[in-house]
């Protein structure tokens, strides 16, 4: 197939043109692009804040920015990255594009609701960016009371309104995914033939629906206490500041799994495809996702071991946090075992997947340090915590996201990205990441608290290492931005199935037609039947147009 053939064939990208055809689209594939553009924008805004933070920390004195500004920078970095990049990234971009395609559906169950979700997301993002432009917010992304509800003089209300609104986008997306996965699977696509990506998104959707309302109500209460002096969290008004922490973490701990479960789903797809094997222990990995989603709701108190909660509550939360680590460990072992006797190739997505396993393993193991009560007391609120959750969220989620973007790029655009550059970028990101965040484990244990604008001079060497790593990481992130845009015009034509994958989404042309499949697919095998030909797995169904 050559370029002109892509141009001639009608598909979801060229079926209509003009800005209205995008802003009023109900095609899940086009909505995925709307999200891709928005979360990329937020990623680089959040990255800009991170750059300033790392530059400030190059020296122990507060010399680049003032304390007020520094506090706003780390707050805006956290808020932007968590609520406007990490949470929507994989579900709203790759999930939107792939959930219907992987199960053989024409679209999500509620296409107009899907478009509404994007508008809600943008509205929430606009409020939060407005807060940043108006002078920012300095509470930390955790909004601890009574600082946020009474003492801070910054734009708390505007920011929490933004997050409140954006939450509805998550809830509606979760609802859409759950209904779609239940009701719209193609003939023969049984639950245990579903790709693990779908299982991961199903588990994530449960958290979206059950958790997000709690953060919405909590942040609303912060706003109400701030405006009307309702005594909910401030003790001088009769409230309880620790209540806020319970409510906040009841959502925000499961939110960590919102960020990492979809990445695990991506990694399962990549490991299977690039080793041409079924995922070892498929059903165990599928149930591990659900197990993480359920137990993940019961561990919020491990963020509060030094908050003054009872010692016995601390013990229960520590125990449950140990238990929730097990399904993640099982997944790592199963991915590794999948490589055994496989046929492994090292295309860029696989490099990201292997990088994910390594960094997620380190993030998970350091999570055990934090779940261990006696150690947590010392490292709580230090750089050890910062290092740990960046290993999970950047080493895990962002690696998974980038691996997924590279893997499905040919499907989304019909073009291939330049493989050499992509491998180089993956390597740079892996090295830059470790140089940035590994020194922070040491910094934390020797006692550097988080959110410190000024720090003792003896911590400088490790901070300089971290900042050096961050600049390498920045190069690593700018590379894909450049060559992926370049490939839209100059990339080689990809064809239907450039990776020889067995998933249903690869059995239709790239880019896919608006209705996804020319014929209703029939499924006779699980998503990873690499020992069989695709034609064997998916016999031709009746034409989809009828």
């Amino acid at each position: 197939m050559n370029v002109s053939e892509i141009e001639r064939r009608e598909h979801y990208l060229n079926i209509s043109y003009g800005i209205r055809s995008w802003l009023f689209t109900t095609d899940h594939k086009r909505i995925a692009w709307l999200y891709l553009l928005s979360v990329t924008l937020f990623f680089f805004i959040g990255g800009f804040f991170a750059t300033l933070i790392r530059l400030e920390l190059l020296t122990p004195q507060g010399d680049l920015v003032q304390s007020e500004t520094y506090n706003k920078l780390f707050t805006m970095h956290g808020v932007t990255m968590i609520f406007f990049f990490l949470i929507p990234s994989i579900p709203a971009v790759l999930g939107n594009f792939l959930v219907p395609m992987m199960i053989g559906a024409r679209d999500l169950a509620f296409p107009r609701l899907n478009l509404a979700s994007w508008y809600i997301f943008i509205l929430g993002g606009a409020f939060t960016l407005m807060a940043a432009a108006a002078g920012g917010v300095d509470t930390g992304w955790t909004f601890y009371t009574p600082y946020s509800s009474i003492y801070s003089n910054t734009h708390v209300v505007l920011t929490v309104v933004g997050i409140f609104i954006t939450g509805f986008s998550s809830i509606l997306t979760g609802l859409n995914f759950i209904v779609t996965i239940h009701k719209m699977r193609a003939p023969g696509m049984t639950w245990f033939r579903l790709p693990l990506f779908i299982w991961a998104h199903y588990a994530t959707s449960i958290i979206f629906i059950l958790g997000t309302p709690v953060i919405a109500i909590t942040l609303l209460l912060v706003g109400l206490e701030r405006i009307f002096r309702l005594g909910i969290f401030d003790p001088s008004l009769g409230g309880d500041p620790v209540l806020f922490q319970h409510l906040f973490w009841f959502y925000s701990h499961p939110a960590v799994y919102i960020m990492v479960l979809p990445a695990m789903g991506v990694v399962s797809e990549l490991i299977a495809c690039f080793s041409r094997k079924r995922i070892f222990g498929y059903s165990i990995v599928a149930f591990a996702s659900l197990g993480i989603a359920v137990i993940g709701f019961l561990v919020w108190g491990h963020h509060m071991f030094v908050s003054g909660q009872s010692v016995h509550a601390g013990m229960v939360f520590s125990f449950l946090s140990m238990v929730v680590a097990i399904p993640s460990a099982i997944k790592v072992f199963n991915w590794t075992a999948t490589l055994y006797k496989g046929s492994i190739s090292y295309d860029a997505p696989m490099l990201y997947a292997l990088g994910f396993i390594g960094l997620f393993t380190m993030g998970g193991l350091t999570g055990l340090f934090l779940a261990t009560l006696g150690i947590n007391v010392h490292v709580h609120d230090t750089y050890f915590v910062i290092a740990h959750f960046h290993y999970i969220m950047v080493g895990g989620s962002v690696m998974g996201y980038l691996g997924g973007i590279h893997f499905w790029w040919p499907k989304m655009t019909g073009r291939r990205y330049p493989e050499g550059w992509a491998r180089l970028a993956a390597l740079i990101i892996f090295l830059g990441f470790n140089l940035t965040f590994f020194p922070q484990f040491v910094l934390g244990y020797i006692g550097m608290p988080r959110r410190y604008h000024v720090y003792p001079p003896e911590f400088q060497v490790l901070n300089v290492m971290s900042t050096a790593g961050a600049s390498i990481l920045a190069v690593g992130y700018l590379l894909p931005l450049t060559y992926l845009i370049w490939s839209l015009r100059y990339g080689a034509v990809a064809g239907r199935n450039p990776w020889g994958a067995r998933g249903l989404e690869w059995q239709t042309p790239s880019p896919p037609p608006t209705e996804n499949f020319e014929r209703t697919p029939i499924v006779t095998e699980g998503a990873y039947a690499y020992e069989k030909d695709p034609e064997e797995i998916y016999p031709l169904g009746k034409p989809a147009h009828v």
């Binding site: 001088s236 500041p241 908050s307 520590s318 125990f319 140990m322 009560l373 010392h378 608290p449």
Partner: protein, 317 residues
């Protein structure tokens, strides 16, 4: 002390080596698993690299017993971490009875400490080596956190209630005293030092430069000044119960409930007297909210605690 580039914090309390031992156990477990996973990935990646484009590896569905094996071993190891960590945690938050008591009040952005003998200090905390010290802490505004890295302990300091933390310093010297709960603009400036002295030096420090008034004396003078003694006389009056021997007792409240008379109860009764009314009394006490500082309340509590001794003296007479 200042090596320029430390990679490990000083051990200056009895807890430090216990926390570090557990830490090194977890480091060992982590290094083992990271090495195992990295090695497995590396070996498989080399050994099973794709040699020709038409390779079709034989499918392997999984292995039930292998799954049990690699679930049970991590579970067992995490249970060791859990129990070991819980034992240390329990000890960190259960002070011995004979601990030296110091009260701490945090505010944006400083630490104020007051010793039982009346000695006050700001952003410094002098303590004797080899003796258990218990901090009773509260905040005047937002949440702060006392973090003593050389002692491997920390505890949030909350407005509106007391939290406690104890330690026994094992080595004379100066160690950082940090705020580790984000508390606003000058959060990173809310730092000071703990000065650990030999017991004799500590005694000398305590007696130097003080007002001569102990916490109990200061509390007693507040008790007179605010007219507390008009109702809460020894033996009690019809307006208010006696406070002698109150601390640590269980108090019968109106409506049949009971409450343990601890620091939080006394604080609440001063600031919000109608929240918990003692059985047999009318809710007539006015609030002292806004009239008395957090330090003043701590002095009153010290005085009320000392009334045990008064009772004993009274019975001897």
């Amino acid at each position: 002390m200042n090596l320029g580039f430390p990679l490990f914090p000083e051990q200056a309390s009895t807890m430090a080596s216990r926390v570090d031992a557990l830490f090194f156990f977890l480091v060992a477990v982590s290094v083992f698993f990271v090495a195992l996973i990295f090695l497995a990935i590396f070996v498989f990646a080399v050994k099973y690299r794709r040699r020709s484009e038409d390779e079709r590896p034989r499918p392997i569905e999984g292995n039930f017993w292998l799954e049990i094996f690699w679930s049970a071993i991590p579970l067992g190891l995490t249970m060791v971490m859990f129990v070991w960590g819980a034992i240390i945690y329990f000890d960190i938050y259960n002070p011995p009875n004979d601990a030296l008591e110091i009260s701490i009040v945090g505010r944006q952005w400083m630490w104020k400490a007051q010793h039982a003998e009346g000695q006050r200090e700001i952003n410094e905390l002098h303590v004797p080596v080899g003796q258990a010290v218990k901090l009773t802490m509260t905040s005047e505004d937002v949440i702060h956190d006392v973090f003593l890295p050389a002692f491997r302990i920390k505890q949030d300091v909350l407005p509106g209630r007391y939290t406690t933390l104890w330690f026994q310093a094992s080595k004379p010297g100066e160690y950082p005293l940090l705020c580790s709960q984000y508390c606003g603009t000058q959060h990173s400036g809310m730092v000071g030092r703990v000065v650990v002295l030999q017991p004799a030096e500590f005694e000398k420090w305590l007696s130097g430069g003080a007002t001569g008034m102990s916490m109990v004396d200061l509390g007693e003078s507040l008790f007179q000044r605010f007219g507390c003694n008009t109702c809460h006389r020894v033996g009690g009056t019809s307006q208010g119960p006696s406070l002698v021997g109150l601390f640590g007792k269980t108090v019968q409240l109106q409506g049949g409930k009971t409450v343990a008379a601890n620091e939080d109860y006394i604080r609440e009764s001063i600031l919000d007297p109608r929240a918990k009314v003692v059985a047999g009394y009318q809710p007539i006490m006015p609030t002292f909210k806004g009239l008395i500082s957090e330090e003043g309340i701590l002095q009153l509590i010290a005085y009320i605690k000392s009334l045990h001794t008064v009772e004993r003296k009274a019975s001897q007479k």
